[in-house]
Point group: C2
Chain length 372, copies 2
């Protein structure tokens, strides 16, 4: 007779085609089950060092300060903002979805004076709107979302460095849903600080957030006049553990880091360019299939984020009923909409291990059945 009120879990096997978590890489789940090491074990320190090298390759950067934070993508966002912003700093935030809104909120809580530039949900931001809002002003940071998970929009980044320079600002980028799925070029684009997640195009369970800081961002961090408000996310402390000093800060999430090591390894093994091309190709199949079914895509073709497609719920269909039928009959998860897109939009993810032709066909078949 057991004293525990519940039995061991046996979660069903779902096909995850929502906004994340995505279809997991099997070897990542295997890696997470390997024997736990101490956080100062030489064998673990080697895994950390390898992971940092691989994250630099994935981010396409030489930034020394590149490492995973011990929290989800939102913790990565907070890390970047609370480490770079001091109370009273002016910050320009581009907003056309939930994650731009979140950056503004987190920056506000860090004490920033936030200037918001709001664009239409389902469209990329107009760089000129950013220029105009910032004109003549001086800003600590310009914050942009590269892949807006709430709308399926890819923000072109090429002009952003120039705009940041006009503002005298650091360039901060959210690449939670873009990293390892579409080109992310930290150094080429002149991004000063970026954060990502594990559960999107890396096909690794959620719980960690890779971040990277340029030398300029590191300098801003080093010259802070006030302490970082969050002790847990304070990079001046955590950097000493991930750097060569190995000073104990908090106990690293060992097995989660095994998983991330394997996930980044698998992405690099495929080759980033090959991986980007695969995401692009399968998303095209999805666009064609959805269009053939008479469904409307929410985002104009040039602004689409390949790993995540927003599609309008057709007239007469019930959002929740359709998603419920997909889950019940096909073990297939797609995402609903957020904010103004709640109830009228589905979000279909083709991320990492889930970005395959077979998943496209399965999703189309499921939708055809549920909408019939």
């Amino acid at each position: 007779m057991s004293n525990a009120p519940f039995p061991t879990i046996h979660p069903p096997t779902r096909i995850l085609m929502g906004p994340g978590p995505s279809v997991m890489e099997p070897s990542v789940l295997n890696a997470m089950g390997r024997p736990t090491l101490g956080h100062l074990d030489p064998a673990f320190l080697q895994i950390m060092d390898e992971l940092r090298v691989m994250l630099r390759l994935a981010f396409r950067t030489d930034n020394e300060l590149t490492m995973p934070m011990s929290g989800t993508g939102s913790a990565g966002m907070e890390t970047v903002l609370v480490n770079l912003i001091e109370p009273g700093d002016r910050v320009l935030v581009g907003i056309c979805g939930v994650f731009g809104q979140r950056m503004a909120e987190v920056a506000l809580r860090a004490g920033a004076e936030v200037v918001k530039v709001e664009g239409e949900w389902g469209r990329a931001l107009d760089p000129d709107a950013l220029r105009k809002a910032g004109a003549g002003g001086s800003f600590k940071a310009l914050c942009v979302v590269h892949g807006e998970t709430s709308t399926g929009v890819l923000q072109p980044m090429e002009e952003m460095r120039g705009i940041a320079d006009e503002l005298g600002a650091l360039l901060i980028m959210d690449c939670v849903t873009s990293l390892a799925g579409v080109p992310v070029e930290i150094d080429k684009w002149g991004v000063d600080a970026a954060y990502s997640g594990t559960q999107k195009c890396l096909s690794c369970p959620p719980g960690l957030s890779p971040i990277t800081f340029s030398a300029r961002a590191q300098e801003v961090l080093a010259k802070r006049k006030t302490k970082v408000a969050s002790w847990y996310l304070d990079l001046t402390l955590i950097g000493s553990y991930w750097g060569q000093e190995r000073v104990y800060h908090h106990t690293a999430p060992i097995n989660g880091l095994y998983g991330l090591h394997e996930a980044v390894r698998v992405a690099l093994e495929e080759g980033l360019e090959t991986r980007w091309a695969r995401h692009r190709a399968v998303s095209q199949h999805l666009y064609e299939g959805l269009t053939e079914m008479g469904l409307d895509l929410r985002v104009p073709a040039p602004e689409r984020l390949a790993p995540l497609t927003a599609v309008a719920v057709p007239a007469g269909a019930d959002d929740a009923l359709v998603r419920g039928a997909l889950l019940q009959n096909f073990d297939l998860e797609i995402g609903g909409g957020l904010g103004p897109m709640k109830g009228n939009t589905w979000r279909i993810g083709l991320m990492g291990a889930g970005a395959t032709r077979a998943h496209v066909e399965l999703c189309l078949a499921g939708l055809r059945s549920a909408l019939a």
Copy 2:
């Protein structure tokens, strides 16, 4: 030919007898490898609900607001402090080790005026010292570490509620290393807010932090005049996801939560009283064995924390060499000292699945060999 610069990891199997991570429960590692669910999947919501019920049993509380935070024990500490403290609040912190110091530092960053009561490292705090330091004053919170991981001291908690009442304060407790290893009685002791970790007596990989808030603490949270500085750890937001509203906040660390579900389940299945008795019994064997070897225990018998034993590095022995030999020859990890105990103290963990007679004997044999 691979584009990845490193092969898949194959971490060695270590016997973890340091201050944590501890020897893992095999079924916990298995659970973490189960298929990832979406964070709003009904099957996952059920796992969350079960986990909350089981955490209440483990904490011995009826507190509604009981749940795991998506970060390690230090994130749990920060959660409790940033949610309950507002700038200018006075906080009394008892300090006789690293984790008391950390509470003071985190409270300071949350804007508190911190009054420190410092005691000897390796001893419990004298309740009268707390009374004296707080006498006549009014405080928002009294902060105490139940199991001080840096020194292996167990702080008696019975008098703390009375002292907190004299101060008009919430009682906040760190039970990272005590939960599921020695009696933790949130409701009986009148604790208002507590946090723990997964990688100690629960034998689950690090990465999550169970917390619990009393009705009184929840009321303080609800009546805040300022926003919580950390968006990621803001319980007014996260509570809406873990509660019945299911409002999306951040993507929960699904597979880590599978592991915690299994870990708490296993602890309850054994029965908390049985588990406490097991930790007490095996620690006695360790004390006897160390004493027979002529080694000095750092903490007087009545104040010892059964899951973690501090022992003096004997004259003539080199701390790092001995620990290196244990790791190399026995795959056995024990911990070094921190702060004033660095270089002169070892910390030996007997936690969760590692709290067995066999582990005691193995550690004693290793030490005999390394010190010979």
